[in-house]
Assembly symmetry: C2
Homo-oligomer: 479 residues x 2
């Protein structure tokens, strides 16, 4: 099947209309980002005002470019849309090559003015005539970290050395600002997160959530789908699509407009009808679609699904290096509601007791151990090993403050070795001391092991993964 | 009144028993930290094994030191406590100078072993005999940023250039690990947070929460009190103390052991009885004591109280630069429950409409405005000024993603200027893009204006400050 959206994520050549030599303009940043991410195809800036941009020869018109162009990034001021579409027609009659337009400019339908709507109609009408798909307008663009495409005008986020990182998260955002924030927050993690595919969908004048959900459904490189959602005109169809996908891969959604006032703000923003929150919520629960309530929960959960296997059950051991953080974590654990403290074997308890400092607390409460600040790196790692080896344990939350006296590098490296031996059991690690523990967190994260900022962040991720694991298991039983 | 605890926060000279030249030992870090923070008094390391540590002459015994020592930091291995106490007696008979001991060593009463309990009894018994107060054992120490004292063995947290920062937060922690984490997380903020006074109370063998609460109650440099609390043997007395203080200054408490399992873990940890959570919760509400549920909420709320005036009422305007983050914030706002969108005057709306890009949303919903990504730095600042000038507004939540094209430095500096003009109205600022917006956040924070990591963090801080403002206002009416 010829899917035109392939050209969005894996274009042979890209034209950037409205290119610029001014680093403060979107028409520059797009070309800069394509260069930074290492896009292997040809980049063709289109502008009257420059000869070259970042070493790329400029063309005055799209129709002047002599090679095949399958993706056009449209960044000019909106009033120019009419002449650009005329020129697109010339090109299509001659080459018939363009498959997708990503319109990153604003001042189209979202303005709700007659002129804005007319511009959007011109864009969509012309594109449809030639079977071209349109992403946007009023979006920040598209990223594909596997094929090395970045048509966004967000500051370059993917350090060159990280560009090849094959994360399995694909993300759809109905808000450009939220998209940009999530990218920048992700890139600010101890080890930057590179999404697999990332699309800001803007006005959804053509390509919409469902097109992309279906694309990600079929995409083998997508392990988990994330979404920032305000609303969708055909809520029933959206839910049906999500429900079908959730049987195969996890979908994590930050659905806003929960409150009536929030829904009103959403309507003013994208014109979305937020829909009845109770209906969405019930459907999400029924169909195993994971709902996140905060940006942090959204990102933590996506990272957890990407980095770890699903737990086999809901038995989650809580291993802490300190009482306070352990108790704090226990409260969050009980709030979460779907995790259960395992009863480990007497052998496991005995092994832990022998291994740990005399003051350690093993099993009070059941399924909980406090190795204490007296525990060295070896005791951190070996106590975790003992717990992972117990059949009663499906996953572990592991909280440590890393005292001054503990070698961070050694701890990080030993944990990496251990976790490779137990790929089937998720371990949610929190090393909680802000920037002071970045060294060990970086060692873990660059080795594909996610870490979390606080114990309650671990709990959210563990709870969501467990809920999805249960959902799949129950489905299997029913079948 | 001679308050011996004065010597804890403002000692004339400090002896460090168990001093060391090994940077991986607590006995080194304490001396290093005292040096780093710029402690102006004399530091006297006590150890047999060294001549000098960090340039300070060592003494073999406490009783050998020839000058007045009012604070003793006790960091030796616990089994040595008996001979140290004998030597303390020699010193007290000769000089009668020591007022406080901060025992940062562990292996005392918290072990619940006969030997541990005996050690603690020896320490407390000897101290009491001479009227010496004891903090700990099993704590991480004490910090006073005004008097430049840091007896902790946590990695140096206060960069020298920040050491003079007179923050008004004083904090009491019933967990050393939580204390260390909170210090390190605070120091990892865009501009490091220096607490005013900070005490990890460990086993509370003598000095306990109430002693310190009362000290902070009377301390003019303490603007807000923070607390990590597991439980207290005399819950009624604790609540009475908190209730009395809350009439004068805000107290923000992360009370754990909320769940029965969490309470069990707390009991295993500090032997604390967590007490009925419902009773604590009701008392907190009744007496205007602010309860935080996460570490983030605790820190955000403390910072907000420290940096801003109390709002006069609950009318909180929501000003956003982008739809998505604004809607997300609105949901959190409605969840919070005690904030109310103000109805601003028609003049304010007209002024905003004239000032902002045509696509801006002013007043849909009421009390909300989206200035859009097209807004420049001037429009950010002037729209905020217009809203602050409206009498219907008590405080503002201000969310911006800072697009690539907006000069961060200019935005930060202009906001600082503006906010100085409206010191009586809190503005909760979120510039949401991880490390990519540290420049503007740092400009704001080094000028005493707190910023928050996400919109929902703003909401928590705004909600808590508003709740406390209401509590005080209602009290006034009753009187």
């Amino acid at each position: 099947m010829d899917n035109k959206l392939d050209a969005l994520f894996n274009p042979c050549n890209i034209a950037v209309i409205g290119a610029s030599n001014n680093p403060l303009k979107a028409g520059y940043t797009v070309i800069h980002n394509l260069h930074q991410i290492g896009y292997p195809g040809g980049v063709f800036p289109v502008t009257r005002s420059q000869e070259t941009i970042l070493g790329r020869k400029c063309h005055v018109k799209l129709s002047d470019i002599k090679v095949d162009i399958d993706l056009v990034v449209l960044g000019t001021a909106a009033p120019l849309i009419y002449e650009i579409m005329e020129d697109l027609e010339i090109r299509m009659k001659k080459y018939n090559d363009v498959k997708v337009i990503a319109c990153i400019a604003a001042d189209y339908g979202e303005t709700k003015t007659a002129e804005g709507i007319r511009r959007q109609e011109c864009l969509i009408h012309t594109a449809k005539k030639y079977g071209i798909r349109v992403v946007g307008p009023n979006c920040i663009g598209v990223i594909d970290n596997i094929n090395r495409v970045d048509t966004t005008f967000v500051e370059t986020l993917i350090p060159k050395e990280m560009g090849g990182c094959k994360g399995g998260i694909s993300f759809i955002s109905q808000s450009g600002a939220m998209a940009a924030s999530i990218l920048m927050m992700g890139a600010s993690q101890p080890a930057s997160i590179s999404m697999n595919k990332f699309v800001s969908i803007g006005n959804m004048a053509d390509v919409d959530c469902i097109d992309l959900l279906e694309y990600f459904e079929a995409d083998n490189d997508t392990k988990v789908i994330g979404m920032y959602l305000e609303g969708y005109p055909d809520g029933r169809r959206l839910i049906e699509t999500l429900a079908r996908i959730a049987k195969k891969k996890p979908v994590v959604i930050l659905k806003v407009g929960r409150s009536s006032v929030g829904a009103q703000a959403a309507n003013s923003h994208t014109g979305s009808l937020a829909g009845s929150d109770a209906v969405y919520d019930a459907a999400f629960r029924q169909y195993g679609i994971i709902r996140a309530y905060t940006i942090e929960e959204l990102m933590d959960t996506l990272q957890a699904f990407d980095a770890m296997s699903l737990p086999r059950g809901n038995k989650c051991f809580l291993l802490t290096q300190a009482g306070g953080p352990g108790i704090y974590c226990t409260d969050a654990y009980m709030d979460q509601g779907n995790l259960q403290f395992p009863r480990v074997s007497d052998e496991t308890k005995e092994e832990l007791t022998n291994l740990l400092p005399p003051m350690a607390n093993v099993g009070s409460p059941e399924g909980y151990a406090d190795i204490t600040a007296a525990a060295g790196a070896r005791q951190h790692v070996e106590s975790l090993r003992t717990i992972l080896a117990d059949d009663n344990v499906d996953c572990v939350i592991f909280v440590t403050v890393v005292p001054t006296f503990l070698p961070q590098k050694e701890l990080g490296e030993k944990l990496v070795e251990l976790l490779k031996e137990y790929p089937e059991k998720p371990v949610y690690i929190c090393i909680m001391a802000g920037n002071y523990v970045l060294e060990s967190r970086r060692i873990l994260e660059t080795n594909g092991i996610r870490t979390f900022a606080t114990p309650s962040h671990c709990v959210k991720a563990a709870g969501n993964m467990t809920a999805y694991g249960n959902f799949l298991a129950n489905r299997k039983e029913e079948v």
